[in-house]
Amino acid sequence: MFGGLRERLQAARARIGSSIQAAAAPPKEHGEAPGLPAQPLPSSATFADKVKTFVIDGELIITDRELADALSDLEMMLLESDVALSVTDAIIGHVKRDLVGRHRRIGQSVDTLVVGTLRAALLDVLGKGFDLSDYIRSHERPVKILFTGVNGTGKTTTVAKVGAFLKKQGFSVVIGAGDTYRAGAIEQINVHAERIGIKIIQHQQGADPSAVLFDAVQYAVSHKIDVVLADTAGRLHTKANLMNQLEKIRRVMKPDLIVYVDEAVAGNDAIVRAAEFDKTVGADAVVLTKADMDSRGGAAISIAHTIGKPLMFLGTGQAYDDIMPFSPHAVVEELLGDG
């Protein structure tokens, strides 16, 4: 997953590291400074400050100029990985703030410094993720989750995968077959529900999806079910009538969470669409499917920062188990780790 982005970030890590190393190679006679903590030095540090630090404390100050080329490379690498411009700017800004003007103790590993900075910058844009199990535990049941998104991104399969995930976590689940538009959609979700052993509420094809999902909620209330997963038909955000239908579903069903589903491989398009859906019907969290096919990782890195909504799950294959709760720390480890 995100192999291309990983390669690029590893290259950026080496590039920034060698820039610091080349510009700040310590003179041998100073040796390591005795146990002083590295403190950021304001960018307004005067020449005298720098010399003082360099001579007295045996430390080096990393300057803007030394990093300029490496940061420019990092910027290009991120953009080439489809990381949104605003997110790229945020990462570069973070790295710059963190490194420029910083005292680097002689002997301190440059790589550790760079990895630490990149890690913090990525975690900053990735947000905190969204723990669905925690959310369900801390809210009144049934928790109603409405899935929205454009056509063909794997919404129905995601509903089934999330259902299987929640069932494994010990929650009782009912699925509302709210995609009454697409031919075969009800059949599809029916088969999924049967395979994972989850009750499904369905009407005929062409029925009002609001009515189906209302029934699903009523069923959950009367049977003390923990979670209602509401599937809906895929739609483009530009189709006003379909978006109005979604708005009606929202009014009738009163979901606790609206989850926007899109595919990671769509890159920047997924971000633009998510923002549009958020504007029209709202979105509380995002699921990105087909992350295993996405080498660039741009959408996964950018979506939380760009639309301000957390990434909840990543779909990583065809099986029901192929869904992983999005953990910013795990993703950053995968991107920057040595393994």
Partner: protein
Amino acid sequence: MEQIDQREMLTLEHYLKEYGQQAEIFAGQLELLENGRMEALAAIEALQGLLQSGDGTVLLQIGGGASMRAQVLEPEKVLVNIGADVIVERSNKEAVEFLQDRVTEMAASEKKVAETLDRLRTQMNEIARRIEQGYQQAVQAERAAQPSSAPSDQDA
């Protein structure tokens, strides 16, 4: 031979349909990737050709099958969409290198999608085989249920 009941046959048919839909989506994705790679390869060829052509004259397609001769003012400078809808100016050589990297990336993605598609098709073949087997069993069971001494024409 393992017996397949009516209910299992129905489920298998649903699976087959669902896998078919998934396969269609992946096939579409594969086509998109392939088109993207071909486009990038054509762009590489055009950029390299422009440098070799000397005066930078190209045929500009204006639609309806009509083209005009046009001259590229700066064949050395190329505007490239590098991702995230960001367009940067690159030298011809840099643009070619960038596109070559993209081609490699897309080829790797194509390989992954093709592998997934292959897996899906294998599963579909297996399901189709099971359905066929169930159908044959049903036909045989029906034949066996018919009375063995059916009246012949001669008895009439």
